[in-house]
Symmetry: C2
Subunit: 412 residues, 2 copies
Amino acid sequence: MMISSTALTLSNLRPTPSPTTASLPESNSKPSSSSTSEPSSPPKPQARRFKPSPQLNRWSRARAIRSGHKLDRLIQQPSVEMNSSNSSQLVNNGYDGSELHLLSPSNESGSNGDDSTDLMAGKSIYMVSDGTGWTAEHSVNAALGQFDYCLVDRVCPVNTHLFSGIDDVERLMEIIKQAAKEGAMVVYTLADQSIAETARQACELWGVTSTDILGPITEAIASHLGVSPSGLPRWAPGRKNSLNEEYFRRIEAIEFTIKQDDGALPENLHKADIVLAGVSRTGKTPLSIYLSQKGYKVANVPIVKNIGLPRSLFEIDPEKVFALTINPVVLQTIRRARAKTLGFDDDIRSNYSEMDYVKEELEFASKTFQQNPIWPVIEVTGKAIEETAAVVLRLYHDRKNRCSMPRISKRY
Amino acid sequence: MMISSTALTLSNLRPTPSPTTASLPESNSKPSSSSTSEPSSPPKPQARRFKPSPQLNRWSRARAIRSGHKLDRLIQQPSVEMNSSNSSQLVNNGYDGSELHLLSPSNESGSNGDDSTDLMAGKSIYMVSDGTGWTAEHSVNAALGQFDYCLVDRVCPVNTHLFSGIDDVERLMEIIKQAAKEGAMVVYTLADQSIAETARQACELWGVTSTDILGPITEAIASHLGVSPSGLPRWAPGRKNSLNEEYFRRIEAIEFTIKQDDGALPENLHKADIVLAGVSRTGKTPLSIYLSQKGYKVANVPIVKNIGLPRSLFEIDPEKVFALTINPVVLQTIRRARAKTLGFDDDIRSNYSEMDYVKEELEFASKTFQQNPIWPVIEVTGKAIEETAAVVLRLYHDRKNRCSMPRISKRY
């Protein structure tokens, strides 16, 4: 299961602008020009020792500590399906703590995971985090959005590699050395400032382009609040996470949203924060789920030609309702693909996806929307789920706030 | 519906370390010392003109353009519930393009939305984006994790305000001036480098602490790839988003996961990428949904004492199955809260949440896990959903890759 982007985008049939000439921009980052094929010895980590041990065991132990002691069992009993030559190779692969350990491409491509397919063809970005790494992943993904024009069709392929839970200097150095060998760049989120500084120095020494993702914003916030950052990785043991009320609220929102999917339980529409209405394949379900993860209770109601809408939809506060619309040509394309996936036979497929029906259904939806003018009608064609969500929430909060400067506000 | 954090954390009963003395750290950010109460006139925007117009109409038009023409209707017909004094005030509020327009606190607290409650008590962080703003939100949330120790119990309250879809200098300047008035800091993600530079200069001029979230990493990636960033906001009209295959895959994963929630359709377990097993209230549903949004098909199977597990759970590839376990005291607390929410009567509640039953059920689960030693057992106590997801995916990809350096890789 390999997903190229965290953005869910509805088919975009708009014409593509020709990319401007690709040229190296003036850059504020200062990649050192030192050789990347033979990095020099690692910089001395600050008061953290290198403890040599077989590599697999080391990773495994770290994972076991993070994941609870019962994980040990997993490690003692590798799956019978495990490639034995590969695993013994790893177990026997001693690590002396000073040499750069090579992960040969064959090591990776020999696995049967989707991950490894073609991962060596392209520029690599290593994301290193002492936590989950989701912030690094999110930021890199957003930044890569600036290079769409050369990433599509793999003209200029990029592979990202996420190393999460990296909380000691030894493993950090291993990863940076590997990045140097591979010619990868490194982006990191490391809460401990001295470890972050060690990472920066090591990257500079070994000629690895690097970026500290969280450091600058953490420093700015510290200055703004007039307090120091804790220096502890997020969700580190002992960190106070008294978010119980929010936890329950978000769980409730997610569970509510699942139960209300696809027009289920129309008698509960009044309990929703947001109700989405639109014809099939306008992205109601993924949009609902995305919004629910942000803590909103969402219900979605499908509009199907010749099938009445639930009466409760017209009885609830109309300010909660958001109508989705889509270009008919794009909708037909999406429905054709869907019908194929579901293995519909031709009769059903033609009804569901053919142009006359698609247009009639959209007209039926459009009439419904006209009869309910308070519902905003949001065009989803070519929009990612994340973007439609932003539009919905902007309107939702504007309506709640009635303030002149639209914003989505939160308390911490 | 106001959620204080994007982290879903299971009740953490661990003792809290006493926070170290809060002191202003040495900061690399250089907030100007100029007065924030009377900002000087805005810096000259580069080749972008200020077009004065009534504020509400301006925002509305911008939204209408972004959201499709039908939105105009919404604007022409404001809800009958709209606070009329407030709205007329906004409509009549002419804007001459040079004065700092004051959003008075009463303007905000006068609304009936949850958003406005107490939002003026605390330090503000403005997040400004030409796109959805989710990257800024995600990064700020992660950085705020470094200040948990003073954010909990609102000792040092922080309010964030997200301004998304800000794609012209006029609105950008309005927001920065408002930030100056409010003593807020500004973090921004602006794809157009000249607009980003204008933001930086305006913040410096008006003494607003500011951080460019995406600029540094975008520059580093540009240098690494040897190509220029497009300078277009993500998902801007005309941007090529040929992510159709991924779009369908992620939609499919989300829809599959919803259908498989809570033990439904056990005959489909073999189709899942990941199967989660655990007793009620170990966070299986939100974890499944979180993973599905990353593109994995997830099924979750509840373990209930004296009720058999589906046979298919033992027939599928055991490497897909992840067992969840939790501290019994925490579980009881969560279940009590849940029983209260659901309005269970005392009989059912005692069965579901009382300690003896909780312990017996966890022991039953534990025995099942022992009989299936390949399933990793993940301790979820005190872990956020995001963190458990990181553990699951680390193991999932390790098993797929069989490589010595655990990583989660993607192609772009």
